[in-house]
């Protein structure tokens, strides 16, 4: 074993790694030693084994690209042939290793080898990570790695893998025994093992087990530890109604019951009274429904006491007559539960020629807005449309809308009000809570405020630099939030041209957003597959929800402020608990994009509308209760019970909206060719 060789190897290694100081020190030492070695060469006894290792190590660091392929292939076959009990845990390690092998090879310029590695093993991960692979497939040079946000974040952060003690030992043993230094290095660098004693986890819940931390595990944990005041607003109308209800003397009731029970009883009575006047037909059925509903509610009443929080924003005042009508609605609300499903009124857009990008329904369902790819926003007044049914064509010619200035010459012929002003496809529209304003966001990076009373454009908000994907009015009106391709979400108030807050942090487009019921938070869903919750007052990110496997398309907040639902491109809907930041249950059922989600007004049902032409109703109370009872049982998936699937006639569902009286409105486009 030639000593010279070793020294050379060490030198080149140090040079390569840029350890200049060490190199110098090494050289100095070498020179000091050389005379000595010349004197008594027998003195320096080099252990041949060490030399061999050093040499082999250096040769590896000569970036032999075959090492990666070979190493990964061996690791893979080892993992596949391991014991069944631990197999699934060990298999989880493969994906991060694979991805990083690929990126390492790219980074070192071995494009060809990276390709072969990628193509020979991609089938293994196709099922779970198809989209990521598609993205990575395009990476063909080191510079792309730097540029691409996904690759960048992969390199920056670590994978988090839950693994049991024994599997971990097995893995380490294997890596040491086979001296696969490259693999060991990769695993050390990019994977963060959370070793748990005892039995391996079950196969089923790997969704949570392999998680990829956008900003590092610790940061997320830190963020998710922040306090959230998810309670409802103090002095909200609902509360006022409850108080009013509680004041009504109710001698028949047993006073031992909790306050909530009483309140609900009282809430129910006027509802029944009103119902009898409205439709005698239904009353019998309703009684049955309320009877069953009551039983379940007594159980949940202890849960449903939501804490009250103070608003952080100055809230706009509500006009007295509007308040009155809302109170009236709340009194007449139909109680929904798994036994009492809602009625759904469906608005179908026809003859849109593939041009409709979004649909929005006002709180009371009387107005429907559609945003089109030809930059127009059209608003239908369903109340008027209802009168016209039957002889629509002749009727439309007769009635004239006051909005002639906007509509131009042939205004009288149209059944809708046309709002023109945007210069790019309109991607989102939202009604203010009382239906007097509409906001629309467009590809031209602006947001426009329209008045439905005056039928005119009021303000054009400029601030985003790229298309604005989504805009949402806050539950109290006045404030609104927008999300954009520029990876930010912004908070605005109607009276200011500039945004009040800018929420930055997502790694990719912010595709959808939703206000929390108490207006203190907004949730945003992004193409980086995470949902974030932001504090409106401070503009800070307070929660990161990780678990989706593809782009997030829709969000909904439960009316008690406790839960959030998110729907993604694959058709998965996830329920999150805001306080803990944990996923309660993935709702599997849809086969295509979930465009829209809506909670019923008392929060017992979740409705989801999808591109697979169905509306699904899910039982929220059952699942959350289940969570409580089975909390200690780890490893069991809690699935929300799907109550009902309502297929439409080849009409993808774009929008869902529960009215204050719990009537569900849905909108979609009739598309014959899909």
């Amino acid at each position: 074993m030639d000593e010279e060789d070793i020294e050379k190897a060490v030198m080149t290694y140090l040079k390569k790694k840029g350890f200049k100081q060490t190199e110098l020190a090494f050289q100095e030492e070498q020179q000091r030693q050389h005379p000595k070695t010349a004197l008594n060469s027998t003195n320096s006894h080099v252990d041949p084994e060490i030399a061999c290792q050093i040499l082999s190590f250096s040769s590896e660091l000569e970036n032999n690209p075959a090492q990666y392929h070979e190493g990964y292939g061996k690791l893979r076959s080892w993992a596949y042939s391991s014991l069944d009990l631990y197999k699934h845990e060990l298999l989880r390690v493969l994906y991060p290793v694979f991805v990083h092998c690929f990126m390492d090879l790219i980074a070192k310029g071995h494009i060809q080898e990276a390709r072969t590695l990628f193509n020979s093993f991609r089938e293994d991960h196709e099922m779970m990570h198809a989209r990521d692979l598609q993205k990575l497939e395009g990476v063909l040079s080191p510079s792309h790695l730097e540029e691409m946000e996904f690759a960048h974040s992969l390199r920056q952060s670590k994978f988090n893998i839950k693994i049991c003690q024994y599997s971990y030992d097995l893995l380490l043993q294997y890596l040491h025994k086979t001296q696969s230094v490259v693999m060991l290095g990769l695993i050390n660098e990019h994977i963060n093992f959370q070793v748990s004693p005892g039995q391996p986890t079950s196969i089923s819940d790997d969704a949570e087990v392999v998680t990829f931390m956008g900003s590092g595990q610790d940061a997320t944990n830190l963020i998710n530890q922040k306090e959230i005041h998810w309670g409802l607003l103090e002095d909200s109308l609902e509360e006022r109604l409850e108080k009013a209800g509680a004041l009504v003397p109710d001698s028949a009731k047993v006073d031992g019951e909790a306050r909530e029970g009483e309140v609900e009883e009282n809430k129910k009575r006027p509802y029944e009274g009103g119902k009898q006047g409205a439709s005698l037909k239904k009353s019998k059925k309703d009684k049955v429904a309320t009877a069953t509903g009551k039983a379940s509610r007594v159980e949940t009443s202890t849960v449903s006491v939501a804490p009250r929080v103070k608003p952080e924003l100055t809230l706009p005042s509500i006009p007295a007559e509007v308040e009155h009508s809302i109170l009236e609605d709340l009194r007449n609300r139909v109680q929904l539960s798994s036994a009492a499903l809602p009625s759904i009124s469906f608005y179908t857009f026809i003859n849109t020629h593939n041009g409709l990008n979004c649909a929005s329904i006002s709180q009371d369902g009387s107005l429907v807005a559609g945003g089109f790819s030809d930059s127009s926003l059209k608003v239908w007044d369903m109340a008027k449309l209802g009168q016209q049914t039957g002889y629509a064509t002749s009727q439309i010619v007769e009635d004239s809308y006051p909005s002639d200035s906007l509509l131009g010459a042939n205004s009288g012929r149209k059944s809708y009000t046309l709002f023109q002003g945007h210069s790019g496809p309109v991607y989102s529209a939202t009604f203010s809570p009382f239906g007097d304003y509409i906001l629309s966001s467009s590809s031209d990076s602006t947001i426009r405020l329209w008045s439905t009373n005056l039928n005119t454009n009021l303000v054009c908000y400029k601030g985003h630099n790229y298309p604005v994907w989504d805009v949402q009015f806050s539950p109290v009106g006045h404030y609104f939030a927008s999300s954009s391709h520029d990876r930010t979400a912004r908070i605005w108030s109607m009276d200011r041209m500039q945004p009040l807050r800018i929420m930055a942090g997502h790694l990719s487009d912010v595709d959808c957003l939703q206000w929390h019921v108490n207006c203190n938070y907004i949730a945003t869903g992004s193409s980086d597959k995470t949902v974030r919750l932001w504090d409106v007052q401070s503009g800070e990110c307070v929660r990161i929800f990780i678990g989706h496997r593809s782009m997030i398309l829709s969000l909904a907040m439960s009316p008690d402020g406790r839960y959030m639902a998110s729907g993604d491109e694959d058709g998965t809907v996830m329920m999150w608990e805001l306080a803990s930041g944990r996923c309660i249950s993935p709702l599997v059922g849809h086969t295509s994009c979930v465009w829209t989600l809506a909670f019923s007004c008392e929060g017992s049902l979740l409705a989801s509308g999808s591109a697979d032409c169905t509306v699904k109703l899910w039982d929220v109370t059952a699942s959350t209760k289940l969570l409580k009872t089975e909390d200690n049982k780890t490893g069991s998936i809690n699935r929300l019970r799907s109550l009902k699937t309502l297929p439409t006639k080849s009409t993808p569902v774009y929008s869902l909206q529960f009215s204050r009286r719990n009537l569900l409105f849905a909108a979609g486009v009739l598309s014959k060719n899909t």
């Binding site: 990476v139 469906f346 059944s415 465009w595 509306v615």
Partner: protein, 535 residues
């Protein structure tokens, strides 16, 4: 290695005038081009998702390019409904070009304006009422037969969730539908003459939510027909029920046709329908014939062998001399309803032999039984009508009339013929009625009157325009003489007829044959111009 090879870069470089691109540059550019392409596609997919579509369009790519501050590619708009297509160049495996047609300016300018696209609008309906989907045309059709969900059960058990086990009920009927079914069947069985039944039939023919009931109705019909062959009102009600179901545009009756057809055909060619003399089974057969014809018309493209099987059955009944004369009648009516072509091809060739068999039945001397004779005349009438329809249809196709005003005459003639044939058809039932009355009256009074009824005097008042057996017999002999005369005339004008027949010898022959068989009674079916020729 990658999607974009370096040759592509070289070709592209050449196409924009760079001839001396170094191979290294091409090699370096290729992966970058691929990366950029993928980047654009990623953005385009985002745009597609935000337009809530599952189909990537050129507009999405354009907006993705705009997002990246690249000028969009013009000329690839897909909005016109006819998307651009790439075509493979002949002789090359992997060379494609855009199929861009040359358009003549003149054509574009002279072409009529395209139809204005319909304006977009919103329609409203109930997707669900308290969680239940109403069966209205706006909603997706409810799955009639739901397969029991075997696969789901073990999965749910694993979760330890409260499993709601669905019983393997194959077919769920709502209470309303059950009530509806009960009501309809009750009406059919007991009160088929009420006004309510008529309304029920109208509802069956129009209501959209009845599809789940169709299997029950077919079973009901099959059962009742097989058990109630002697109950005439029931049979008629059943056939009207079938007719209404066929009329309903929201019902897919095809899968149940095989169950339905036997009962319907039974009502057409059964030996006895009803057990009382008053039962007008002729009318039932006529009605059933129209039902059969409409089924054939509607579903012959779905079931290719439907019509052939049906005609085979009917022809069999028609040609079997052992069958009852009523069966023959049904078969003839059924064949006639299937259209003149069927008659021409299947009935007419057998006419002569059949009439030879029928003739003795019709003659007073040979057939003493009034009923039988009457039936035979009935069949004769049906045959005449069927043959007449077919010859009329045949002649209608005869376009070439030598005289110029023929076309105008034609139209009026057409109407006349129609009314003629209508008259004739109308004439039949009264004759029938008389016959029936004749049969009835004696029955109710005393049976000995039957004999007197046979007197021509007794029927003399009805002979005006009607065909009492005797009258016809007399006229028959007269006709024979006339025909002889006519034939002489025909012989005298062979040239004229030859000219007419040159166009269609067959129809001429057919005409002659029919004339030979039926005599003058075929004339009302023949348009007068032809008649003129003929005479």
């Amino acid at each position: 290695m990658s999607i974009v090879p370096k040759e592509t870069i070289e070709v592209t470089a050449q196409s924009i005038g760079i001839n001396n691109l170094s191979p290294d540059a091409a090699l370096a550019l290729a992966p970058d081009v691929e990366y950029r392409l993928r980047e654009i596609m990623q953005e385009a997919i985002k745009c597609m998702r935000h337009s809530k579509r599952n189909l990537l369009t050129t507009e999405d790519v354009d907006s993705a390019l705009r997002l990246r501050n690249v000028e969009p590619i013009y000329g690839f708009a897909s909005g016109s409904g006819d998307p651009l297509r790439f075509r493979r160049a002949l002789g090359h495996r992997d060379l494609f070009y855009v199929d861009d047609k040359d358009v003549d300016f003149k054509d574009v300018i002279e072409a009529p304006l395209p139809k204005a696209p319909l304006d977009c609008s919103v329609v409203c309906h109930w997707l669900a009422i308290e969680g239940v989907q109403p069966a209205i045309p706006e909603n997706a059709p409810v799955e009639v037969i739901r397969a029991p969900s075997e696969t789901k059960l073990p999965e749910q058990k694993e979760d330890g969730l409260p499993v709601d086990i669905r019983l393997p009920v194959k077919h769920v009927l709502s209470r309303e539908l059950q009530l509806y079914f009960d009501k309809i069947t009750e009406l059919v069985v007991s009160r088929s003459d009420s006004v309510l039944f008529k309304e029920a039939l109208a509802s069956l023919a129009t209501d959209s939510g009845l599809h789940p009931l169709v299997p029950y109705f077919t079973c009901f019909i099959a059962d009742e027909v097989s058990h109630g062959l002697s109950n005439f009102p029931l049979l008629f009600a059943l056939m009207r029920l079938v007719w209404s179901l066929l009329q309903n545009p929201h019902i897919h009756i095809e899968p149940y046709l095989h169950q339905l057809m036997p009962s319907v055909v039974t009502c057409l060619v059964a030996k006895r329908l009803g057990n009382r003399l008053a039962d007008n089974h002729w009318e039932l057969r006529d009605f059933t014939a129209t039902v059969v014809a409409s089924i054939c018309k509607r579903f012959s493209h779905v079931y290719n062998n439907l019509q052939t099987r049906l005609t085979k059955t009917l022809l069999h009944a028609f040609l079997d001399p052992k069958r009852a004369i009523t069966q023959h009648y049904g078969a003839i009516q059924g064949l006639a309803a299937l259209g003149p072509n069927v008659v021409r091809l299947l009935v007419v060739p057998n006419l002569e032999t059949y009439l030879r068999l029928l003739e003795p039945e019709m003659l007073l001397e040979k057939q003493k039984n009034e009923m039988k004779r009457h039936e035979a005349w009935r069949v004769y009438g049906a045959l005449l009508s069927a043959a007449g329809q077919s010859i009329y249809d045949r002649l209608k196709m005869f376009p070439s009339m030598p005289s110029p005003p023929a076309s105008t005459v034609w139209k009026t003639n057409f109407r006349i013929i129609h009314s003629c044939s209508a008259n004739l058809l109308e004439e039949q039932p009264p004759a029938e009625k008389i016959g029936n009355d004749g049969a009835l009256v004696p029955l109710s009074n005393n049976s000995s009157d039957m004999e007197t009824d046979k007197d021509p005097a007794a029927l003399g008042d009805s002979s005006a325009g009607r065909s009492s057996p005797k009258d016809i017999r007399e006229s028959h002999s007269e006709r024979r003489q006339k025909r002889d005369q006519l034939e002489k005339r025909i012989l005298r004008t062979p040239a004229l007829l030859n000219q007419a027949w040159k166009d269609d010898l067959d129809s001429g022959r057919l005409l002659l044959l029919l004339f030979e068989l039926f005599g003058e009674s075929i004339f009302p079916f023949i348009p007068s111009p032809e008649m003129a020729f003929f005479l």
